[in-house]
Amino acid sequence: MTWYRSRTNCTGIRRFVDRREFLQTMGGGLGSIALVDMARARSQRTPASGLHHPAQAKRVLFLFMSAGVSQVDTFDYKPDLTKYAGKRITGKGNVQDLLFREEGNLMPSVFKFKQYGQSGKWVSELFPQLSRHVDKLTFIHSMVADANNHAPAQWQMSTGFVRSGNPAVGSWITYALGSETSNLPAFVVMKETDTPAGQAAAWGPGFLPSTFQGTVFQSDSDPILDLSPPATYDRASQRASFEFLRKLNEEHLRTRPKNGELAARVAAYELAARMQLAAPEVTDLGGESEATHRLYGLDRSDKRGAKFSRMCLLGRRLIERGVRFVTLYCGGSTSTLNSWDGHRELAKNHRHMAPICDQPVAALLTDLESRGLLDDTLVVWTTEFGRTPTSEGQTDGRDHNIAGFTIWMAGGGIRPGTSYGSTDELGFKAVDNPVRIADLHATILHLLGIDAESLTYYHNGLDRKLTGADGGQVIRGIV
């Protein structure tokens, strides 16, 4: 909640769009609103692409584990916890200030850990398939968040701020870079169950124009809302209607020359007509081999797992077709076993959730790599906060923990096989190289060739930035 706090000053570039650029975005799909401005505004040398510096990643797959994955049960191995089992945390300040609910005793993980890969990364038994890919991954063990309940924390991870109403990372990136396809939305969101706590505010455009909102994609045949007319309506009439409308609008335009916006609407309908064809093509998995289906686990008997498998495969198909930013949610609202929110029976919860994503995420890494897509696709596996190394009160679950948690990234310019930062011996607080969410966001933008400080949008008296007034530091140790 500090966007107006200004250590640097609040200067920025007033960002507006002129008609020509606007049309480029609409029609050509290659331009972008912010980019042109950024390039023009910058005094230093600008790469020909219009980017701040050469990009290592062109697109992002954002895998969001909803409601808080426990780091000490997954990727942040803390053997000392066994030694301190049943004791209280001491000497770490006011613990209660960091917690959401009641403080309990230290509780070691029930999961077995083993070392994997060249990097010798310790991973718990929850991820038997993903653990084979550890050498591709970069772990950040020292993430810290500001809000200890779900919705604000998900907003912070998704938009940079703990309050709703701010543009999602995906919105900022499509605002900056535009899209590489005009047939599909530039920023797509998919859910495997109901909507996570942050709801649509986690992929909304905030104060950016609604063009940049995340579009919710269903994994079935009519993936976008209102993509097609009611089934009873004749397809030929649908085509003819688009055509007749174009004629009427063009005729009208002739009497009103030089009206770019009216012209843009004509283009928008053409684009819509193309989208009607392109979107169902994405969700038609008939062209994917049997082996691919099996690799992702679409054939799994577990329906929920199979759905997430399908989403991961669709994620790959979407970015292959030029979509800029894809968010896939694993887990939804915080009802029992629906998300990673293990306040009670943590072991049972994580044993239920991990298999949903283990195989398809591993498959995604294999598949992207074999298609040469991993080089310029940034995969981010994240959650809004971690969980405490203690039990929650007298239960066998764990409370929310914003003082230290783990995420990982892969592909797109990330240094593979690394672990960055660390928590204390209990896995409670980030002690070594703490990474704020603004730092993570700055790093993601950096990998895409964008300088977080220069990407601004004027709103309500301020030049707003994804990383807020305090800014974010690119995590140099992993790029």
């Binding site: 706090r5 002129d18 609910r101 124009p209 209102d226 209607s241 008296g461």
Partner: protein, 857 residues
């Protein structure tokens, strides 16, 4: 000097303006918006321009245009003007008849008449109320994770609409919204008005962390400060939460001074009725309740005979299997196997009415029924656990005196219990005890219901042996026990045993009772609304960097020091309370010497009429905001607004009757070359309709728009309440949703997809100006959305009813309704052909998608 921002209606437009930022001190005393408003002289015009200039506005704008070698565009066609001004003022389309009348009106003041008609329409308030709701981030849910519905907050929306419709003076409008509760305590409308302050999000997830709670509270206070300052000052005071403003003369002290005004402010959904309404409501409830009560008594009477019969029958059924009769008041016999005894006693453990037990005589017999062995004169002696004191009638000696009647009886001194013993004065063979409450049968109370009779034989050193008791007796019942049994009988069982006559009466009485209960239930509850709720003000400190733990200097409630013409001190004289602090702020705010309030408001109104304000950053009149394109005009409007007693309708009249507003919207390459962004207003820029207007006019064209005013919001979702409620989009919302969009529920993170596609205001945000995007998803929405399809079908039906089945006629009618004009011959031919091939529905849907329909020209 770099070119400043221009504005195009779809997205805020561009020219890069890297400001050569002044130093902070430059802004400090010299911020244009803080200078006092001086009504400027109206500029002189060239003689050639004088005839065109209708109003002072025209003089300012035309003088400026003339300086740049430009002039106004030719006036818009009458039909174009009427469509524009109707959409602007009411958000609805004119009817074809209205257009026809207007075009043909030969009176000199035809425009004034049309504008007055529109301003008098209740739909004016719906349109302009929505603009205000955008600015104050009106939301009918709490936001955050739980996002609970605010079911009664629509009253604030109606308050806003009514305020516009009644042309409430703007200073009064502001006073009511900031401090209505202090202005006229007990006035419900004024309390509802404070919804302005509380409309923002509220985090109601519980946490055990004190620090988190403090942060949240600070966030809430921040909400109050921000909505007040951006809406009414047009300044980004919020910057002061962490540091002195970098550019504007706003310090952290100013920020926390405002925070102090709101330091005890909380919010609550509470009753907003006046005292009189409360009293009237109480009377109504009491009257209805009395009607229910009397009818209940009537029902009792109707049930009584049958129920009594049934109760007796039930009691009789219970008695089955019991071998001895129930106890009686007059005389009871307790026979037993003959036994030798020296003493006989009776122990009573329950009595009728739980009264102190009374025994008239206790007689003991052997085989000889004529010889009462208990009589005192036979040598026996009576004793008791207790005797009711000071009562000649009820002595223990009366127990065995051989005389009957109440005046010769014994009463214990214990409620419901007592024990009486007879010493037989020797060993006797006994086999019967006879006793009664009143052997004469006069008194029917104090009867022993539960008792036992015991004997003992001293000579054999035997203890007490029970020889008889109430155990084997049929339960006693009198009216009281019958009543108790009756209460346990279900009504339907009683009805089952009714005679047909009884049943007839019963049904009539029951039906009337249901009606009366229903009347009681249906009494409209007292109105609730989401409003301010004050706790005592808290000490407020400047927080270093906004950190709740870093308390600095304590501050008193105060307004902006930079407004030099006014005293910033807001500490109330006399009693200090939250409402009084807010009242002081309101008084400060509406003081005519405050240059911000009127400037900011007239600029908003201007913006909604022209698409861009005289200052294009309506919420930022600070150094980083835009400078006014016509500073003198802005000040003239602000001064005139105050002079006209802050009348919003007068302000609208000034604007929409000006030649500037009445000019055409055609592009002019010469003018565009000099002023591409049209900041000098050489034309009116075509604008897309807002999301609400698109939905409303589609319904208008289809003939399905329900123009009912006010009341609870309609829902496009199913609300599944719970700890974290869910909002599920309805697949097929019904007719009750075909109302104006201003009556749609405004939910955090839940928009109608159609509305969202057309850039509706986000309930999470203060939206001082809508953006207008053009996207493919928008096109898909407007072509394929179920709502559009459904309404296109109604539109087609309406056309058929009016024009019959010939495609040519249908085309003409459809154009008239949607586009308010006749099709050209060419259009008519092409459209008729299209109808022939693809149906009228297809044409209707296409017309709703045309630029001509979706834009104001």
């Amino acid at each position: 000097m770099v070119e400043r921002c221009r504005w195009y209606p779809w997205v805020v437009v561009a020219v890069i303006a890297v400001f050569t930022r002044g130093s902070r001190t430059a802004a400090e005393d010299d911020l244009w918006s803080l200078r006092p408003i001086k009504a400027p002289e109206q500029p002189a015009l060239y003689p050639a321009h004088r005839r065109r200039a209708r109003t002072p506005i025209d003089r300012f704008v035309m003088a400026r245009l003339a300086n740049g070698g430009l002039g106004l565009s030719p006036p818009a066609a009458r039909a174009t003007y009427l469509r524009r001004v109707t959409l602007d003022l009411t958000g609805l389309l004119p009817t074809t008849a209205e257009v026809g009348d207007f075009v043909r009106d030969s009176r000199k003041d035809f425009c004034e008449r049309a504008v007055d008609r529109l301003l008098a329409s209740p739909h004016y308030g719906e349109r302009w109320g929505r603009h205000w709701l955008d600015v104050v981030r009106y939301a009918e849910s709490n936001g955050f994770e739980r996002n609970k519905l605010r079911r009664n907050f629509w009253r604030y929306r109606d308050y806003v609409i009514d305020s516009f419709n009644s042309d409430k003076p703007y200073d009064q409008f502001v006073r009511e919204q900031l401090a209505g509760d202090a202005l006229k305590p007990g006035n419900p409308e004024h309390l509802i008005a404070t919804g302005f302050l509380v409309a923002g999000p509220k985090n109601d997830v519980k946490t055990d962390s004190e620090l988190q709670r403090m942060k949240r509270r600070q966030d809430e206070i921040d909400e109050f400060v921000r909505v007040t300052s951006t809406t009414l000052f047009g300044l980004t005071v919020g910057c002061g939460r962490c540091h002195d403003h970098k550019y504007d003369p706003i310090s952290s002290r100013d920020y926390y001074g405002l925070a102090a005004v709101f330091s005890g402010l909380d919010r609550l959904d509470k009753v907003v009725a006046s005292q009189e309404e409360k009293e009237r409501h109480a009377v109504r409830v009491a009257v209805a309740q009395r009607k229910v009560d009397t009818q209940n008594a009537e029902l009792e009477r109707a049930l009584e005979p049958a129920r009594k019969r049934l109760a007796v029958k039930r009691l009789a059924a219970v008695a089955k299997g019991k071998v001895r009769p129930a106890v009686a008041f007059a005389r009871n016999e307790d026979p037993f196997e003959p036994v030798y005894a020296t003493h006989v006693r009776i122990t009573i453990t329950a009595t009728s009415g739980n009264a102190k037990p009374c025994l008239d005589e206790l007689e003991v017999y052997g085989a000889d029924r004529s010889q009462n062995l208990a009589l005192s004169r036979a040598g026996a002696r009576a004793s008791a656990s207790s005797v009711v004191p000071n009562n000649d009638f009820h002595q223990i000696s009366h127990l065995n005196d051989g005389r009957y009647g109440n005046a010769r009886s014994w009463v214990s001194n214990e409620q419901g219990t007592g024990q009486a013993s007879i010493d037989l004065g020797g060993r006797k063979r006994v086999q019967l005890v006879v006793w009664g409450r009143d052997r004469t049968g006069t008194y029917q109370d104090r009867l022993a219901l539960r008792y036992k009779i015991e004997v003992s034989d001293d000579t054999a050193s035997q203890g007490w042996t029970t020889v008889s008791s109430s155990e084997a007796r049929t339960p006693f019942h009198n009216d009281a026990t019958i009543r108790k049994t009756r209460q346990e009988i279900a009504e339907q069982d009683v009805v089952a045993v009714m005679t047909s006559g009884e049943r007839f009466r019963y049904h009539a009485v029951r039906a009337e009772l249901l009606r009366r209960e229903d009347d009681l239930k249906k009494l409209p509850p007292l109105a609730n609304s989401y409003v301010v709720h004050d706790q005592p003000p808290q000490s407020t400190f400047v927080l270093d960097g906004g950190d709740v733990r870093a308390r600095g200097e304590e501050v008193e409630p105060r307004a902006l020091a930079a407004v030099k013409s006014l005293d910033p001190n807001l500490l109330p004289k006399g009693e200090d309370s939250g409402p009084r602090r807010r009242l002081r702020l309101a008084q400060w705010m509406v003081d005519p010497k405050n240059p911000l309030l009127s400037r900011v408001f007239v600029n908003r109104v201007w913006q909604y009429h022209f698409g861009a304000g005289i200052v294009t950053t309506p919420n930022d009149f600070g150094f980083n905001g835009d400078r006014p394109s016509h500073p003198e005009l802005l000040d003239w409007l602000a001064a005139d607004f105050m002079r006209q007693s802050w009348s919003m309708k007068q302000l609208h009249r000034r604007i929409v009757l000006s030649a500037v507003y009445r000019q055409g919207s055609r592009y002019n390459s010469k003018a565009a070359a000099r002023d591409g962004a049209n900041r000098l207003l050489w034309r009116v820029v075509p604008r897309r309709l807002e999301a609400e207007t698109i939905r409303d006019t589609i319904l208008q064209v289809s003939g399905q728009l329900d123009l009912a005013l006010g009341g609870p919001s309609f829902r496009l979702f199913r609300y599944i309440d719970g700890n974290v409620p869910e909002y599920v989009l309805l697949e097929a919302p019904g007719r009750e949703t075909w109302r104006r969009a201003v009556y749609m529920y405004n939910i955090h993170t839940f928009d109608s997809p159609l509305m969202r596609a057309f850039d509706c205001a986000d309930a999470m945000l203060q939206v001082p100006r809508r953006v207008h995007t053009v996207t493919a998803l928008q096109a898909l929405s407007l072509m394929n959305n179920r709502f559009v399809f459904e309404q296109a079908r109604f539109f087609a039906r309406r056309v058929t009813v009016a024009a019959g089945s010939r495609p040519e006629d249908q085309t003409v009618e459809a154009y008239r309704i949607a586009l308010l004009r006749e099709p050209t011959a060419k259009e008519r031919q092409a459209a008729s052909e299209f109808v022939r091939e693809h149906g009228l529905l297809s044409l209707c849907r296409v017309l709703l998608n045309t630029n001509e329909f979706l834009y104001v020209f």
